[in-house]
Point group: C2
Chain length 410, copies 2
């Protein structure tokens, strides 16, 4: 069977996973948590993808090194400081792993590290040294523990992002859950922003990596808040095998079921990140259908979702579809006939066709306004030249985006 049931518990939903989050003092505001941990006593298979930004965070360098054997037991993550472009960055990222490993009594090579926050400010390691024992002594597998962790990785996010599902493989109940954070400098490229997924599925590192690498193409990599690809993007999936299904070591039906579950978690977290984009008031979903191939579909969906002009028009509830056709038209390295394209814009209120066969279609401004007043907008682009499709997620461009980013460091 392949039915999936949404459950509570985020990264603690899967058997054998514990988590926690505390305020250590990296962020000034003592109400805000800034240090998170995820831990599995059983050694996990690991899949991971990282930012391709050349100015990558020190945590990326260290995590790549620690996870190259495809195995891990824990992830330590701080918010409030990206530990990027700092002379002592790698040293401090390693120190974070060692601090966690020592208290957990495990090998530091089995710890991945993630950091998010301002770039270029030296990371103060003291708050982590002082609070690592409290953090780990209070590890637990309740949904509250998962929420502590999800809260501790937030920066400008306005809400926590977590999800979990239960499904069956070989008659065994398997769980998968994840958490993520946005919400600016979000335009992942072949990698992703911070996302952590845990599962008790029994699967090899190789198959887990394959599943993740394929899945991010249609999930995290299809999100854009501002077109800026971060230095610290990272997604890690930990699978500890405690569900005791027969190990997944090839692309069989069980692998497909697992991929489906992974996709559901990643899709949910991706949409939440777009919805919580800095300053956003609206989630914009752009679906491209009937494209000649999936690469074209993805490129066009992302071109539209990334357009500042489309984003600003959505903020203003202005059905300025000319900006959508414009963004379709300037998609790089894309081969298609604009005169076959049709554009629909819709929401909970309803849907309307605004562009067909290369030209505008007359529509009621009043109805258009009612559609765009909703907080989730769906743009559907029919390429009429094939059968491939793709979805991208973004948000509107608002005064608050400018406000948040005009003074991020202060």
């Amino acid at each position: 069977m392949d039915s999936f049931k949404q459950i509570e518990g985020g990264v603690c939903a899967a058997k054998g996973f514990k988590a926690n989050g505390v305020h250590a003092g990296i962020k000034k505001n003592s109400e805000k948590k800034d240090l998170a941990i995820i831990y599995s006593e059983s050694l996990c298979s690991v899949g991971a993808v990282y930012t391709q930004n050349k100015a990558c965070g020190a945590n990326i360098t260290v995590s790549k090194e620690h996870l190259k054997d495809g195995k891990a037991k824990a992830v330590i993550c701080n918010s409030g400081n990206a530990n990027t472009c700092n002379r002592d960055g790698v040293e401090k990222a390693k120190e974070m792993c060692k601090l966690a490993a020592d208290v957990l009594g495990i090998d530091e090579k089995d710890v991945a590290v993630a950091s998010t926050g301002v770039i270029g400010v030296p990371l103060n390691i003291e708050p982590i040294q002082k609070n690592i024992k409290t953090l780990i002594d209070n590890l637990g597998h309740s949904k509250e523990h998962a929420q502590n962790a999800a809260a501790a990785i937030m920066t400008t996010d306005t809400f926590m992002k977590e999800i979990a599902y239960e499904f069956e493989i070989d008659g065994k109940i398997v769980h998968i859950g994840g958490m993520s954070k946005g919400s600016g400098m979000i335009h992942p490229n072949m990698a992703t922003m911070l996302a952590f997924v845990t599962t008790d599925c029994n699967i090899t590192s190789e198959m887990l990596q394959k599943a993740l690498s394929e899945d991010v193409k249609s999930t995290y990599n299809m999100v854009s808040v501002d077109g800026d690809t971060s230095t610290n993007d990272m997604c890690v999936v930990l699978a500890n095998g405690e569900a005791q299904n027969n190990i997944i070591n090839k692309e069989d039906d069980n692998y497909k079921i697992f991929c489906k579950a992974l996709n559901m978690v990643n899709t949910y977290l991706s949409k939440q990140m777009a919805k919580d984009g800095e300053g956003a008031t609206k989630l914009i979903e752009c679906e491209v259908i009937n494209a000649s191939d999936i690469k074209l579909a993805r490129k066009i969906a992302k071109s539209v979702i990334t357009s500042n002009l489309v984003k600003a028009a959505m903020f203003g509830c202005d059905m300025n579809w000319g900006r959508i056709s414009c963004a379709i038209g300037y998609t790089e390295d894309a081969d298609f006939d604009i005169n076959k394209v049709s554009i629909n814009v819709g929401s909970k209120y309803g849907e309307m066709n605004v562009y067909k066969d290369g030209y505008g279609v007359e529509f009621s401004e009043e109805e258009a306004l009612k559609i765009l007043k909703e907080d989730e907008i769906k743009i559907t682009i029919d390429m009429n030249c094939g059968t491939s499709k793709a979805v991208a997620w973004g948000c509107d461009l608002t005064y608050d985006y400018v406000k948040i980013n005009g003074s991020y460091r202060s």
Copy 2:
């Protein structure tokens, strides 16, 4: 000699060129001009580059057809309506050429047409029919006539953009002048926004096209206001030969002098467009030096100038250089060592080094604020891996950009 003297007169600075601009009624506000013309009685060599957006304006289709012989006498341009994605767009663009040609008594194939404004609203041709005679009857070669034309091509621009130079070829005085408009949907790709350049230089169409195609790579194509490549971008250079220099028909020294003059005009107009980007309070110039090749230099300069996060930080006078190193790092298809890169940020007030060898450099926040309070900011990126360089121009991202584009159509 190759000394260049800045003179008045814009597109009327070159011998034999006349221009004018009026309010015809395409824009509602009767204080705003919306119809412009440039005319040379002598047949001109023409160079032209166009947007590569697949959803291109009807004027682009018609101009390409009319200019394919490399010859023209006039350009007609309206603002207030892009005449793009309209079922009768091509018909109306042709009608605009015919209206101008009939009054001028020339062949409509010798008229280029440009349109700028909202996409997808049918163009009302009546105001043009009614005012074409007044427009042309009052053609003149004074600087006021050039200004009338420069004003009539503006949309959300806040000031006119025009420039002219005088220089010598073969002992003959040659003039070149141009005008352009921005100011949103500005991210030209292998083409340009609206820019019109006139010169009395004697040069073949072939050499003129070669000079222009090469020059836009380092001028208009290095400008970005919002990352959105317009449907109607177009740059036309008209050369009527009235300076009577020996015709330029090969890449000799005279060709180089002409290229230098063309570059000065196009560079000035490019910078003005960036400075007048929608909602902008600051011009941002990004110079990449010591790159391994010019393509890399251009890509990196443009990546930085296009970053929403860099733009918002500049608006907030926040020396958040991490966003600059981040934008350098995510430059697509770029091969370089981030650990060799050095970043300086400066203005009229002074300059400071903020990043060196892959790491941040300590600096005074007080001094940084004084640098960033100025209205022209220069970011210099030393790649330390070669001798090539490039400059890109952009502007800050402000509340007003969002305001202007949240309700452009209303």
